[in-house]
Symmetry: D4
Subunit: 165 residues, 8 copies
């Protein structure tokens, strides 16, 4: 059971690291690779076609601009593919988002928010947890943790706004 | 093993039917329900919280405008949630898309294209196929089918452009 | 008579502080709380459902990205709810704005400008002033104050453009 | 106790009628008027300045394109003003929305969705209900009604998807 | 013969200064004033209504966000009004632009580019030059000057790209 | 004294006719011409360069898509140029608007709303009226007429909403 | 010497036909094919890799939505690739345009306007004309023809506006 | 055999340098010039009309805002013209992109990504390589080089994510 986190360039790692960190926190085995739809299309298709046989169950792909990587990988595998639009200053990340999410019928890509790599990791965990009760339990603890965070943030806010009064 | 297809209004069915049809084609058991984040928020949370115990494994949620349904369901379950932005004439569907896809870290929603319900069904099948070899095989046949369709479309195009010459 | 100012994260306080300050300036009692639609949906609904019985009359809710907080609170109370889209660098705040303003018929959210928390405070004051003549008078003074400000800014501009001539 | 529903042109009535209907359903007294910020700015300011003394408590203003009516009325009264962006085919209603919602600090306009006149009526009712227990009760019934509608829509969906199976 | 350059706030002067500078360069008499559609609507209408009798021939109005100033001034005078959308970081200046340019039939505003105050000055000069042969001649010299600038920039580019070769 | 109304194609006449009609209503002499920046750039520059000597005082130019006509004419004349973005179904007219309004410093184009040809005619009249007291008077009557229209529309609205009550 | 016109689906032919017609008008040999980046990625790469050896000199690729076809073909050939964004009602064609034009450095796609297939044909002709004097001459005649069209359209406009006067 | 790289201002050189560098790397002769559609329209048309006779085969034109340069040059030559939208902070570069890409049928401009000057150089090389086997070979080496880069980036990513584990 493994998740592949792939991206078109090493400069995307600053965004995609959050997906890797999330998988690590849940103890999910992962590989991280540079795969480029545009610079090495044959290598990309080879990766996608062989992923299943190499024990990969979910593929997380991050890309920016005319972001073709998630959709092209999804076209060459039947594994679930999660796409992360990597934002760029120009055009506010809208190009990355639309290039990934607007896939035609037949080839789904599970699209995350612009720069939403942490959620890509979490969605992979939710998918793997369907057949892994331990992971399911970890997700429940994570959900409880989110509630606790609200309480902590609440204290911060209360204190800040009391002080200022 | 079951998939829930939910939507905020019966008027969304014209779009969401494609998700139902896709699941039916792959023989995946599904339930279809009207669940509204805004009209019945407590009912919505109840549905989300109980989904797991009722044998649901994936939830597909369609909504338009300020589309809160997929994200709110995802906040009350640890199952994978797939969001389908339902397009409206006003604002070209951009409101539906951004309301669903731009989720904060912690609560992932697998977002499809505007009106992309067929792909929501297919992504659910890809997820379920991870632990169902028969479904995996059906997906491979579907992929082969897509290739055949290209050949058929190619013939149509060739004929049309020969005739017109 | 009280106004609740709520937000999904303590990081939103830098924007939402302007609402708190405005209410303080008009001497309106207010509480400030971290309420998260996504991290703690049940806590959020509980807050919304109990607000009325706790003497709250208007709720101001700030949120960014796929901003569901104002709309979800509005769905679980009959009090007037004011939404403040909190801007993010990505997508120029358009996601926050559309997620809050494009509510379906049945559940109104009084939407302010992106980062427009000061106006949220002022709208709450305008609403409360309907049954509070003193507050109404304070608003009239505030309106007169805005006119005075124009005169002061006018002097600044006149001086600056005279000097430069 | 009265609500004024105003709009820049009689052609806007097709959208704004939903606000009138909502107020009528709740038995709220209302007046409906053509008020134009651009064609008759002095008449518009006169209306805004006199509204309070004529027993108006909330003003609903609908406008399209460079929609200045809600903001200009809000600048000449201290009553709560609700703005309804009226959509036009060109620019998808984005111009109407931004012209109304992006008000500067000091002059709040409670902005609704594009063409969201029904919610403008409901927000007015929520505001008036703060000092009218009967209206508050009517809102609670309306909320219950929304829940019932979900059940009815659910039956429609269930039946439609059973039949199609 | 005079041009009025007005703006809603002294913070807009950093953008609007270019209009003032352009008028100064052509020796056109100008006044510069803070006029606010939202903070002082009656003062704004008074200014617009009296402009003609005070010898003003063209009004340049700059504003940002829900920018109502140019359109409202145009509604209370028959003088030509030039609008300058002042950009803000949020929404990339799109709100300022659409609020000014999308005026309804009947009330024209000559809209410039976002932050395009220099061109507002130039357009005023082009208008005044219709009845001022000296100004017309100055515009012809300015046009010739633009051509000379191209030659200078060309040298810079040629040198830079030769050096780098 | 004459105004030229030019457009890139005869298909633009359906939009630009409103400019012609407005000029006719005010009795302003006008010529109407097909001038194409892209199909006949030399003819276009010739027209722009000769306009002044042929008694033209204001040029109204309508164009759609990558709308270069108004800006290019403005670059070859010192007369005031008014640009009308002609809307197209694709991209909601945003391309026409931005191509016309975002002119660089040095070459102003007085930009109207998308399809705002009537206002282009009115702006031309406002400009010509600076040296034509009769035209100025006609504009005052037109402004009064706009106020009367509000009263008529008001009657329509009042009657419609009374009937419906 | 041949041009390939490819598209992802036979439904795109209604737009892409204009490219075929343009090539036919100039007597340029062309083949027309259905090539799908998503349904048959290996077939698509095979086509791109073999294009050169089959005598193809320019490839025109049309696609809509998350339009990956032009960019992916460009990544597997060194021939010039021209991309035509095919518009869809949803999102106004913005998704098609950005998915094609925002290519990363290294893999150029010559992008046309949304639905701009005729220009794709013309660009191919301009490219081929670099080594074909006869084609160059045909382009000059075409340019002259465009000028003639302006004269014809001018007559239509003149007549229409004379009649209407 | 030569390529012209032109731009409206020397400030565009910071973006356009990448086109020059790319041509230099492939050993393609190039000239670099400041050509302004707006400041010197006659000079611009002269340049475009004479380009062919001066041995230029491809023209690369960069421009920002209401970017008319590429389209206007394309209207006065039959050579292939490549347009580079130069981004500006305001409006995220959308104005530059749409002004260049949305050309009407008849006058094609091969549009690159916002700030995509490197690809403009590469497209010129791909075009020239059609009749230059050496250049074709260089492009093949460049493509192989891109594949090698992926391997290097892959090592960086692998190392970074191993270290962090």
């Amino acid at each position: 059971m493994s998740v592949a986190v792939v991206m078109g360039s090493d400069s995307d790692l600053v965004v995609m690291q959050a997906a890797v960190d999330t998988l690590d926190r849940f103890g999910v085995h992962r590989i991280v690779r540079c795969i480029s739809a545009h610079r090495d299309p044959h290598g990309m298709l080879r990766f996608a076609a062989e992923a299943e046989s190499q024990g990969i169950e979910v593929i997380i792909a991050g890309a920016g601009g005319a972001a073709h990587l998630p959709g092209m990988i999804a076209s060459a595998t039947v594994l679930p593919v999660i796409g992360v639009p990597v934002g760029r200053p120009v055009l506010s990340g809208m190009d990355s988002l639309l290039s990934i999410v607007q896939m035609p019928a037949g080839i789904p890509v599970a699209t995350m928010a612009v720069d939403g790599a942490a959620n890509a990791g979490l969605l992979a965990v939710r998918i793997l947890a369907l057949s892994d009760p331990e992971l399911r339990e970890a997700l429940r603890l994570h959900a409880a943790d989110l509630i606790d965070q609200v309480e902590i943030k609440n204290s911060t806010i209360t204190r800040a706004t009391e002080v200022l009064r």
